[in-house]
Amino acid sequence: MSEENKNPVTEKIESTKGGHFYKEIMKDFRIKESLHGCLNCGTCVANCPAAAFYDYSPREVCQMIIEGDEETIEEYMKSKIWNCAQCYSCKYRCPKENSAADIVMAMREIAVREGLAAEALAGYTRIAKLVLTRGNQLAPDMLSPDAFPDWGPRMIELSSKKMEMREELFEGFPGMNVVDRAWAAEDYTIYEMQKIWEESGALEKVGTVFPFLVDIVQDDMEEKAEEMEAKIQEKKEKLEASKK
């Protein structure tokens, strides 16, 4: 009879502390500032808005790092850490001045880098696409009163007039007279932004989570490239001329 069969309930602890992900996390400069042992008092969990609704516990995050089990860390990086809302309530209430929020932030960066985040972030594809192709993702159109009944009947009335209201509010700012996005950035601005992402390596990082988004952005850039590069050249020449 094997050991497991004899005692099916007892969990066998085999420490695997010191694995690759654990080492990567401990390398982050934030960890030392964010973990000073843990009293297991539960103050963080009691104050945590994410813990009230999701399968997430800042206390567990601290305990997981203290224990350092590689398999558990990997599991957390794939799922649980993405439930944190980064409100930092844990940090400002913890009697040990720990910050699960900072640990989570460091772990998220590593999860992205190590290609563990794709599944957890799949739901954010739309947002990422909008940010990468438009520069912003929130729009007045998204805030439909049907989805937020607690806003009351006045919102229904206001919502039907949102275009008129924006036109009045932002007279003289044509980019603001839209309701399908927060504001309409100029093509040139978007191109410039995409160029920065590409050259800084940020786009490549996005690619580890949303590979197809890289193609979308690159297609988007290609379409505009000729016109925009000419514009950049023109600007450069103007700048040179002004220097002389």
Binding site: H36, L39, N40, C41, G42, T43, C44, V45, A46, N47, C48, A51, A52, S57, R59, Y92, R93, C94, P95, K96, E97
Partner: protein, 349 residues
């Protein structure tokens, strides 16, 4: 015969004064308030853990031993404003309503004690905002028949007896956020004692204690803890009280039930904060006037914690009791006697 100056008329100072007087020394006992007995008298401590004997049965004999001894001069409403000289001849300025006078002393005993931690700092507990969030010192006053409510536990908001009572442990202790990472050393047993007193007086009430660890290291403390669970059905929940809000005139607390691994919300009628110990105002003043060393938290630092626990950083100035750090009454009395022996020894040389 040299005269000894004892600063502070709490348990430790009283015990030190009477022990020294019994050995034949003259003692001047300086107390800033107009009563003796320190925090025990100030907050009308009612019963003492773990035996639930009356605090008066302990404190009155100690006061009487001082008041009935002709070798002791008790100076109430007095404060030391300046000290000069060195052992064995100190010159201390004593200020009171009659004016300022200077006297010479052979040795000085500092027994200036502690102050209850002020929980207003922990604003998430709502002390000062919500009337029915009270401190453990206020509960002592309430439970004492000579107190403001004549021994009845009453909600400050409406004067009614609360049915559901929660006690928060470690308020202002074991907490880096308020700069007090140390343990108050008495909160656990005091809360257990108060919970039993409440259940004894109001058997229908429900008492919940929110704790991190119950540190029952004193004489008879663990047994009292057992009694609280077995005989009084007090509910101990392992999770630190995290936040208090007021919903529809009802107090609501948040915590994590750490053993069951879930956040909880609990509606109660009254919340008692087991506020810990902070260095007393008198202790901080004494350190300044005498120029003796304090530790990181404002308490007085002994010359050597193990080998000379009652000597300050300056020769001829001795320290004892809760001005050195959190201490219970039982140990304060031991400290008072210990410092008296040390002073007597130093004056003989």
């Amino acid at each position: 015969m040299k005269t000894v100056l004892v600063i502070g008329g709490g348990v430790t100072g009283l015990k030190a004064a009477s022990e020294l007087a019994e050995m034949g020394y003259n003692v001047s006992l300086v107390e800033k308030e107009d009563y003796l007995g320190g925090q025990v008298t100030k907050h009308k401590y009612y019963k003492l853990a773990p035996d639930l004997r009356l605090a008066g049965d302990v404190i009155y004999p100690v006061i009487k031993a001082v008041e009935s001894n002709s070798n002791i001069k008790v100076l109430k409403h007095s404060q030391i404003t300046a000290v000069s000289g060195a052992a064995p001849e100190f010159k201390a300025k004593i200020k009171n309503s009659k004016g300022e006078s200077e006297e010479t002393f052979g040795a000085i005993v500092v027994a200036t004690g502690f102050d209850h931690f002020d929980p207003t700092v922990k604003q998430e507990y709502g002390y000062g905002r919500f009337k029915d969030v009270v401190t453990n010192a206020e509960v002592e006053e309430m439970l004492n028949p000579n107190g403001p409510t004549k021994g009845e536990l009453k909600r400050p908001s409406d004067g009614k007896t609360p049915k559901k009572i929660a006690i928060f442990q470690c308020v202002g202790s074991r907490d880096r956020q308020v700069g007090n990472p140390y343990c108050c050393r008495v909160g656990c047993v005091v809360s257990t004692k108060q919970a039993i007193e409440i259940k004894e007086k109001y058997p229908d009430s429900e008492v919940y204690v929110y704790y991190m660890d119950m540190r029952m290291f004193g004489r008879g403390w663990e047994e009292l803890y057992g009694k609280a669970m077995e005989d009084y059905e007090i509910i101990f929940t392992r999770g630190r009280g995290a936040e208090v809000t007021l919903k529809n005139q009802q107090l609501s607390l948040r915590a994590e039930e750490t053993i069951m691994d879930r956040p909880i919300q609990h509606s109660v009628d009254m919340i008692i904060l087991a506020a810990g110990m902070a260095a007393g105002e008198g202790t901080i003043d004494a350190a300044k006037v005498l120029g003796i060393k304090q530790n990181d938290y404002g308490f007085l630092a002994p010359k050597d914690d193990f080998l000379s626990p009652n000597e300050s950083s300056k020769p001829g100035i001795f320290i004892a009791g809760a001005d050195k750090g959190p201490m219970d009454i039982e140990n304060c009395i031991v400290e008072g006697a210990a410092v008296a022996a040390k002073v007597a020894g130093s004056l003989k040389n």
